[in-house]
Subunit: 348 residues, 2 copies
DNA sequence: ATGAAAGCGCTAACAG
DNA sequence: CTGTTAGCGCTTTCAT
């Protein structure tokens, strides 16, 4: 069997020393036609037992693996899903990706991830590259692409996006209720007796951030307490923005008993500033975050926050996309936010 | 020009409503042959100005984008690089990926990332999937693949791997000097007068971890102080392992003035335990980490640690791989570790 | 049940 | 300078 030790001349050694074997090679080795090989590999039709055995033996012996690119070209489907994320280092985006990835296991689809770095031009370019590879679907995790750009993109392949609400035939969006999240956070503080609550906001154009603030305002209204705009300072959803805002807050001379940071990363920055200035959390001031990133549980004190179900968001996105691709996965449950009480907030 | 409003019948609408246009369509539209289109798109040869203009106009008008899969099939190169990571949520792996990604920008290569979750079986399967897509190169970020498996894989396409040392024609490895890193950490503590230094180790089979410990031991030897094995406890490189180890350490009754955690995540766990038990860092005990993950700078107090240049590691890996793929990028500098002094360690 | 042949979209000889 | 043609590796009619 190992008798034909000389390889057919057309076998190539692309960059390694191991020949790359094609279905044609397997067919020759097994003494059948290439169509038979294909049928066996894909289980597309019945094949006589002896041939099947011969082919399977050849496949194993030669270590044949079908070329997915060729198959894709023929089938008109790449089995790859493009993911546009903003920053692969972001703790919460990473968790969404992880959930998405998890849902894809076993489906044959593989994600290819590109980063846009919150830069519209870059995002467009990267998505273009993805589309050049004929992705079967695209998931857009936040970012600065306009709604109409997204709609246009969805004319090529199904799109699912987070952080916006959008209607379209080949597009699905997931937008959690951030207003409600902000409301939950503020209510918790208000319910514990806090009446002067400072806020570190997010990027002014980021709707997730502005909605959280809106919920913060609504909670105040319900409690009949006025929000003092003098103690809301702008952050940028990053740690450093949190330190800047917290410093300004402390320097403005106004008093307050709690601060609601628009996300955990801002809260971490604020926390550090208070540590530096000898302000104890939560004894001197309570601190509340938003997101529940992995590090939140290991701050000292562990951070009270509103949990966004990132992993489940990833799962949900994958399911929505798969559904548009014709894979039926039954009911989809929309994840919701929930208060995570730890130790950075105390009764006022 | 928009006169021919009826599309050629063979145009298909895969899952969107926008026709997918091929080079053939462009050729027809511009009144030239398909090879001319190819030549213009790739800049492969001189083409008469009028035809070039006509083709470019057609491309713009029809919004043509070459099908990379087809090109790959023809060229025998996919322009995709596979990355096997262990956990996309790991703060340090994410940074390596980011560096890698950065180095790839503009090269035409795109990474596709899969996770192995520190599970050999899973790793093999994912790498197989990657190879089915005929990746042009593979980068292996740590993991449980054996050296011989890696060598075998490198017979198909160039491989670059971290966390081990390995020789092979189509394989390059990057292994930082963790022994030296451990030495740096321990020396810093010893130099500040600490004589009883506890250690939270990493996974016992993880060579990075064992080497760090070896460096820790060497530093002690040089200072002529004995390491007390009773105050080294095993962790797992994760936060929770850090809390478990720290609790055991505190409960064992032995005294110590500093703890060297084998990585920052372990240090975070240990830090939380001390916070809980009212032990002040660094006043009561000094704490030293390893890695310098993003969160390290925002612990309270900010964590003194040994920085691993993850971003640069990513860059380096990309360069090595690109070099094997025939792209000359000049000198490669091997990044080294360095002490990052913050506030979690003080003189004893 | 199986083989021959066409063709997915593209590039690269090879002729003109 | 430009068009014709032969595949890249695969799946899938269409005959047999």
């Amino acid at each position: 069997m190992a008798a034909n030790s000389k390889f057919p001349s057309q076998l190539v050694f692309p960059s390694g020393d191991k020949p790359i074997v094609t279905a044609t090679d397997v067919a020759r080795e097994a003494g059948v036609s290439i169509s038979t090989v294909s049928r066996i590999v894909n289980g597309t039709a019945r094949v006589a037992k002896d041939k099947r055995l011969a082919v399977e033996a050849a496949i194993a012996r030669m270590d044949y693996r079908p070329n997915l690119q060729a198959r894709s070209l023929k089938l008109g489907t790449s089995m790859i899903i493009g993911m546009l994320t903003q920053d692969i280092e972001s703790p919460f985006l990473a968790r969404v990706i992880r959930g998405f990835e998890e849902a894809l296991v076993g489906t044959g689809y593989a994600p290819i991830i590109v980063s846009g770095h919150w830069n519209q031009k870059e995002e467009i370019e990267r998505v273009g590259l993805l589309m050049d590879r004929r992705i079967d679907g695209l998931v857009v995790l936040y970012g600065d692409l306009s709604d109409s750009q997204l709609l246009e993109i969805s004319r090529r392949q199904p799109v699912v996006a987070t952080g916006r609400r959008l209607e379209g035939e080949h597009i699905r969006t997931l937008q959690l209720d951030h207003e409600q999240g902000g409301y939950i956070a503020a209510s918790h503080l208000l319910g514990l007796g806090h009446r002067r609550i400072a806020h570190i906001s997010g990027p002014p154009l980021h709707t997730d951030a502005t909605e959280r603030y809106a919920g913060f305002v609504r909670a105040h209204r319900e409690y009949g307490v006025e929000v003092d705009r003098d103690i809301v300072f702008q952050g940028d959803f990053l740690e450093h923005g949190g330190v800047l805002a917290m410093n300004r807050l402390l320097d403005c001379g106004k008093n307050f008993t709690a601060v609601f940071a628009s996300n955990d990363q801002s809260a971490m920055g604020a926390h550090l500033v208070m540590y530096r200035r000898g302000i104890r959390v939560p004894d001197d001031v309570s601190l509340m975050g938003f997101d529940d990133i992995p590090a939140a549980a290991y701050l000292t004190p562990p951070l009270t926050t509103v949990r966004q179900p990132f992993f489940e968001i990833g799962l949900y996105l994958a399911q929505s996309l798969l559904a548009m691709l014709g894979h039926d996965l039954g009911e989809l449950t929309v994840p919701s936010m929930e208060l995570v009480i730890r130790e950075s907030v105390k009764r006022c």
